[in-house]
């Protein structure tokens, strides 16, 4: 009998079985149900409608609510939605609610969830957000679900899942310092297409993945959904275990793939050969090399979101922007309060990142939230309103994603976005990094 992949092992353990095979439908015990201000109120609505107005959630420590989408807006319905979450948290005595306007507020759920120690190797995480797949970076099975499924999980603690087949992506060799996780995942999506991993688990491995930080791995797993993947996952190593141990004392069990696990496909990349890239409008799979798109003139640059608004992303941008000036409006939105604080505390040659960005002429740093990553209410920071051409560290560039249907969005790594902000056209970051590291 062949072995199992990490994904299969986790699903087997959570469904009380010795083994599961791709295609089987199994009832899986959930360790964490994540929801936010966009889908939380609807999930609560389903939960109450179906389980009754007096029902209790299945486990008050396993429902984690992180409002993050429509926080800094005058929109009244958005405020009402956060209030619904607040009331529900009190009524159900939930252990984890990161309330906007209080010191407990954190910011973007997919960066906040691991920061706060809610992501642990070997666990099953479901969330009412498609980028829940981010959490595979720490070796958990994590996937996005809708309100109705989430309402069921809230009451029952279980979900019926089809075991996905696993597609393996191996990055051998060493990625050069101008290559980031974003370049790696855009390459994969460009190769297999926007539905190339439909229903599949995407497992990332190889020496270049091992060399990435947890944040870099998060960027990669975050975008598994952009190829249609059910989950993205990286085998947890010591780095992952250390990251988790520093944030939670809860026990967990590290699960890795068997060497003889059967996979649906195997793709191997030479990390050293990768080049900085962009995804052109209006699909994350429209791969192009940054150096071949130098004729594209830009109106604005955007650094933020669960994909590209982590501290490592801002450090990368600052490496390029230090001592230089941006030529276009440059929007900076740290994903979480922890990232915002780190912008003040992290220095490059004695200068804080906040100062580097201010000197470069970037717009004032916005408070942590999803902001214009998904457009949002009309008054959202960074939202497009016309035919702007934007280069962004976010994850989607569908028509209207950042607000206006007429806008064009190019996705890229923070290094490429920063380099492009300086020139006002799509720019390969090597043009500037060469001078930093001669």
């Amino acid at each position: 009998m062949n072995g199992m992949t990490i994904t299969e092992k986790i699903l087997a353990r959570h469904s009380g079985r010795d083994r599961v095979s791709p295609g089987e439908n199994v009832w899986v015990e959930v360790d964490v149900l994540l929801t936010h201000d966009i889908c939380g109120p609807g999930t609560i609505g389903v939960f109450r409608r179906e389980f009754g107005p007096k029902a209790r959630v299945w486990n008050r420590e396993k429902v984690v609510i992180i409002p993050d989408h429509y926080i800094f807006t005058a929109d009244e319905l958005s405020h009402r939605n956060v209030e619904t979450l607040r009331q529900f948290t009190m009524e159900q005595e939930l252990a984890y609610f990161y309330d906007p306007g209080t010191p407990g507020y954190r910011g973007v759920c997919h960066v906040a969830l691991p920061e706060a120690g809610h992501v642990r190797p070997g666990e099953v995480i479901v969330g009412t957000d498609s980028h829940t797949c981010t959490h595979g970076a720490l070796g958990a099975f994590a996937t996005g679900i809708g309100n109705t499924d989430a309402g069921f999980v809230m009451g029952a603690g279980k979900i019926l899942l089809k075991v996905p087949e696993t597609m393996r992506f191996r990055f051998d060799g060493r990625a050069p310092d101008y290559i980031m996780g974003k370049d790696m995942i855009l390459k994969v999506i460009g190769d297999i297409g926007f539905d190339g991993a439909s229903y599949a688990a995407m497992e990332f491995s190889g020496s270049a993945i091992d060399a990435l930080s947890i944040e870099g791995r998060m960027t990669i797993c975050n975008m598994a959904i952009e190829a249609g993947g059910k989950n993205g996952i990286v085998a947890p190593d010591q780095k992952a275990v250390d990251y988790v141990r520093a944030r939670t004392s809860k026990p967990f069990e590290v699960v890795t793939s068997d060497p003889d696990a059967r996979v649906a496909s195997d793709r191997v990349y030479d990390a050293a050969a990768l080049e900085p890239c962009v995804a052109e409008p209006h699909l994350p799979s429209k791969y192009a090399l940054a150096r071949q798109r130098g004729d594209v003139k830009l109106d604005r640059a955007y650094i933020g979101s669960c994909t590209g608004g982590k501290i490592e992303d801002f450090v990368a941008a600052a490496r390029v922007l230090k001592g230089r000036k941006v030529a276009i409006d440059t929007f900076l939105v740290p994903a979480t309060c922890e990232v915002a604080l780190a912008l003040i505390e992290t220095t490059i040659d004695g200068q804080s990142l906040v100062e580097v960005f201010a000197d470069a002429g970037c717009l004032d740093i916005a408070p942590p939230s999803c902001a214009a990553c998904l457009g949002g209410p009309i008054d959202t920071f960074g939202r497009t309103h016309g035919s702007e051409v934007v280069i962004s560290t976010t994850n989607r560039n569908f028509p209207g994603r950042m607000g206006s249907k007429q806008a064009s969005v190019y996705l890229a790594s923070p290094l490429t976005v920063a380099a492009s902000a300086i020139t006002g056209r799509i720019t390969d970051p090597r043009e500037f990094l060469k001078q930093v590291h001669p």
């Binding site: 966009i38 889908c39 109120p41 609807g42 609505g45 389903v46 409608r49 179906e50 989408h69 429509y70 929109d75 319905l77 958005s78 939605n81 619904t84 969330g127 009412t128 957000d129 498609s130 829940t132 996005g144 679900i145 809708g146 309100n147 109705t148 499924d149 069921f152 926007f194 539905d195 439909s198 229903y199 249609g228 059910k230 699909l283 998904l374 457009g375 949002g376 209410p377 009309i378 989607r396 569908f398 028509p399 209207g400 994603r401 607000g403 249907k405 007429q406």
Partner: protein
């Protein structure tokens, strides 16, 4: 949530393209509406497919809130993008009873079934050029066929299998109760 027990129905067709993502189905600025609140459910319907590029025929012409189109015909990867259940809900609330696409994004498909908002039929044949927006069509649900009343052409759809009864019941909770799985 709508109950769709009719095994056969006719409706006008709206033809959309490939990769119709959830932002085009329901733009993010309307995600402040909560699908389980009845008035907001209706409002979501009035914004269905309002994110399609300029130049597309309006899916919900004024004054709304319902669409004249009960069947959406699309290409590959319908419903890609976010996990927002607002997407199948908006279509269902606008009056869509079925979508016929070459393929779906996983979460959208599951949400369409879980909510019972619309039948997500798959077709092996590309239908985008076999229909025009406004054509009258008939779907036979158990027989899994789609007929273009204008041209008389009949297309075989993939059978819905286990998914059909769940949508017919009005979603997973209603189905589970009918089947005695839930009280």
């Amino acid at each position: 949530m709508s109950t769709q027990s009719t095994p056969r129905f006719s409706a006008r067709v709206y033809v959309a393209g490939d990769n119709i993502d959830t932002d085009q189905i329901i733009p993010a600025q309307y995600l402040n509406l909560v699908p389980t609140n009845p008035e907001e459910y209706i409002k979501l319907g009035s914004y269905a497919l309002s994110g399609l590029p300029d130049g597309c025929a309006p899916f919900v012409p004024p004054p709304g809130p319902r669409s004249p189109y009960g069947i959406v015909i699309a290409g590959r990867n319908f419903g890609c993008g976010s996990s927002r259940e607002h997407a199948p809900v908006a279509l269902g609330a606008a009056g869509v009873r079925a979508i016929v696409a070459e393929s779906y994004a996983r979460i959208f498909f599951r949400n369409a079934v879980a909510t019972g908002e619309c039948y997500p039929f798959e077709t092996a044949v590309r239908l985008l050029d076999r229909f025009q927006t406004g054509d009258e069509a008939e779907i036979d649900v158990p027989g899994a066929t789609l007929t273009n009343r204008r041209t008389g052409e009949v297309f075989k759809l993939q059978p819905l299998g286990a998914v059909g009864p769940v949508v017919a019941a009005g979603g997973i909770f209603a189905y589970a109760r009918q089947a005695g799985m839930l009280k």
